[in-house]
């Protein structure tokens, strides 16, 4: 997994609550059996004026000029500023894959949906929860100042604004450690293989029917 330490990134404000994963990456792109290449279809239905399909070239598709990602001043943004309950709906990990492929490395919102929040960490994206009043203010500052960028420091757990104001955020210690070091979850879990085995042995005695399996 990719490491995350300090990010100095242009901010793009997406002023909508309850942005769901269907909107982040529409269902037709879920037919892919690959992990990469979803970036051009991030927010497809909002970003383009026509209908996108897997395999269709995105270069000459008509862009929706009103959608924030299409505004030149936000090109190359790597921090997404969002509203409440970002990433709700389907569990599709294609949503963080698409965000990451597009270049988003951190998302700031007052709240996230649980599964999406979790999926971000698996893909080197840092989701940051800040107080709703703070997020409100960041929206205003970002919209008022072209080129608005934030510095996100995972180790120090701070977001720093262009005026030097530093805002602290919370993150779970284990997740922070894994993200800072780019550690593979499965490898870490397999260090506990003896405990998993011991658990299985005990459970087989207590609840043998859980091991009769789906193979009949």
């Amino acid at each position: 997994m990719r490491k995350f330490s300090v990010l100095d990134g242009l901010v793009v404000p997406l002023d909508r609550a309850n942005v769901d994963t269907d909107a982040i990456i529409p269902k037709q792109f879920l037919k892919s059996i690959k992990r990469a290449g979803f970036g051009p279809n991030l927010f497809d239905e909002w970003r383009y004026l026509d209908h996108g399909e897997p395999g269709k070239s995105n270069h000459d598709r008509p862009l929706n000029p009103d959608f924030v990602l299409n505004q030149p001043r936000y090109r190359d943004a790597s921090v997404l500023l969002a509203r409440d309950n970002f990433g709700c709906g389907s569990s599709r990990e294609h949503a963080p894959w698409a965000l990451q492929d597009y270049g988003i490395q951190a998302i700031i919102a007052p709240s996230f949906a649980d599964i999406f929040y979790n999926n971000c960490f698996k893909n080197g994206i840092l989701p940051i929860v800040l107080d709703v009043a703070v997020v409100d203010r960041l929206f205003r500052e970002c919209e008022a100042n072209e080129g608005y960028a934030l510095t996100v420091d995972l180790d120090k757990q701070t977001v720093t604004t262009p005026t030097g104001e530093s805002i602290r955020f919370d993150v779970d210690a284990g997740r922070k450690h894994r993200l800072l070091n780019g550690l593979d979850d499965i490898g870490l879990t397999l260090l506990q293989a003896d405990k998993i085995k011991a658990y299985e042995e005990r459970r087989k005695q207590e609840a043998p029917w859980l091991f009769s399996g789906s193979q009949q």
Binding site: K31, R92, I115, N118, Y199, S212, G213, S214
Partner: protein, 467 residues
């Protein structure tokens, strides 16, 4: 010390290891796999030269991409076909049981788990699908995961988790005639909002829940995720045990007795403490219809489309305005005056036999309105379909003018050929009314199966209690 909640009991039974910060390695008993969220997980496994730790704990089924019309020709869309074939190949390679497209047991992953007895009380159940919360109806701890976690479960049979907070949703009293579990679910979401359950495991309790069938409990737990909760659950009782008994993969003989003895303990203790409790009066719940693009944008059949000027906050006013624009609705329109173009009865929320019986009882002897272009019924599994046909429900639907289809996710998310066209309005028994969910530009109104059938016959929403 106070007693334990059902969540705590299920959690404690599955702890493998706890880190100093409370992060827990939790053992997973059942892993349900479908074609959309698994290919990248299998690929990751292969790249790392790993194999599933317990192929016997997994069960796979294609459901999202499968056609609901004649299957003898296979899947027409090559991209969908490749995804299903990839699942077939991965399951064959790793020795995972799969109910393939031509198997009578094939169906929506959240329908077949319970139907086959693969979902059992007391289990931890996961699937790369957010509606895994459905299985909590059995007194199981069931939640959706992402593809990285699918790979993690295949490789280790465990997941890293932190305990959730717990919320008791208590529904007391008796539901009115024509009011169903779907209406309870939507009423709860209307009450707490789509983020109201975030960070919580929900337990549904109270006399109205106790009175629900397993199908109704599954509908309710299915929608827990739409309230923001990864897991929803209902305590085990005799209704649960009677449902499980005799299912193909349920324990038999002495193992059955041993299992039942444990299952009978799977309820929250009387003095258990929840982090939050909310209460609803079942008698007050009316048939629900969503009017917007989020399940919390819901009112009753006798309500009206709200006016954004009355929204409780600036952000909500903005959301409501946008939703009304997308839905093509004017504030103040009575719900019962909204005409529909299509009707979809199906999805993991409402495609089980009881759902089809409810819909059929409304459709019986009537005709789909001429202004409805398509009304379709998509059973949740091949076995549900067969059962419905044995009971003659298919004939009721067909005579009324509904299409009777093959099982799958179908127009719930429109990954196959079943979809809404731009601007079309649909009465749907599914679970999400997001923009574009049932097809780009499509407009979804979530309702119960009975309300969907009534809307199909009337051509617009009607109060099924007056039918």
């Amino acid at each position: 010390m106070s007693g334990q909640t059902l969540f705590q009991k299920l959690w404690d039974a599955h702890v493998v290891h706890v880190e100093s910060d409370g992060t827990t390695l939790l053992y997973i008993d059942r892993h349900l796999v479908h074609e959309v969220t698994s290919p990248q997980a299998f690929e990751g496994l292969k790249l790392a030269h790993r194999t599933p730790r317990r192929a016997d704990a997994a069960i796979a089924v294609p459901d999202h991409n499968v056609p609901t019309t004649d299957r003898s020709q296979g899947i027409a869309d090559p991209v969908s076909r490749l995804q299903v074939e990839t699942l077939d190949a991965n399951c064959a390679e790793f020795g995972i049981t799969e109910f393939r497209m031509d198997d009578i047991r094939q169906g929506i992953v959240h329908v077949i788990g319970p139907e086959e007895g693969l979902t059992l009380p007391g289990m931890t159940v996961v699937c790369g699908d957010s509606h895994t919360s459905t299985h909590g109806a059995f007194g199981a701890l069931a939640f959706g995961i992402g593809t990285s976690e699918v790979e993690h479960v295949l490789a280790t049979q465990c997941l890293w988790q932190k305990p959730s907070k717990t919320m008791l949703v208590k529904v007391e009293g008796q539901l009115g005639k024509g009011v169903t579990a779907k209406d309870i679910a939507l009423a709860i979401i209307g009450e707490i909002g789509t983020a109201g359950g975030t960070g919580y495991a929900l337990e549904f309790g109270g006399s109205a829940i106790r009175a629900l069938s397993m199908e109704g409990r599954m509908t309710l737990c299915n929608m827990a995720i739409e309230a923001g909760a990864r897991a929803g659950m209902v305590a085990v009782d005799q209704i649960t045990i009677d449902y499980v008994k005799g299912r193909p993969y349920a324990p038999k003989g002495a193992a059955w007795d041993q299992a039942v003895a444990w299952w009978n303990t799977l309820h929250s203790d009387g003095d258990a403490k929840f982090d939050r409790v909310i209460e609803l009066d079942a008698a007050q719940i009316e048939p629900q219809v969503t009017w917007g693009t989020s399940p919390e944008m819901v009112t009753t059949i006798n309500g009206r489309v709200p006016d954004p000027a009355d929204a409780p906050s600036e952000v909500k006013r903005h959301d409501w305005t946008r939703a009304l624009e997308y839905m093509g609705l004017a504030a103040g329109t009575p719900i019962a005056e909204i005409a529909v173009d299509k009707v979809f009865i199906g999805s993991c929320t409402n495609s089980r036999i009881e759902d089809l019986r409810e819909a059929a009882s409304v459709a019986k002897g009537r005709k789909v309105s001429p202004n409805v272009k398509l009304a379709m019924v998509v059973p949740g599994s091949g076995l549900v379909k067969r059962q419905a046909e044995t009971e003659g429900l298919d004939r009721i639907f067909v005579e009324a003018g509904f299409e009777w289809r093959e099982p799958g996710c179908s127009m719930c998310l429109a990954m196959n050929a079943d979809r809404l066209e731009q601007g079309e309005r649909c009465a749907s028994t599914s679970n999400r009314n997001f923009e574009g969910r049932q097809g780009q530009g499509g407009r979804t109104h979530l309702v119960s199966p009975a309300m969907a059938a009534a809307a199909a016959c009337a051509g617009h929403f009607v109060d099924v209690r007056k039918e």
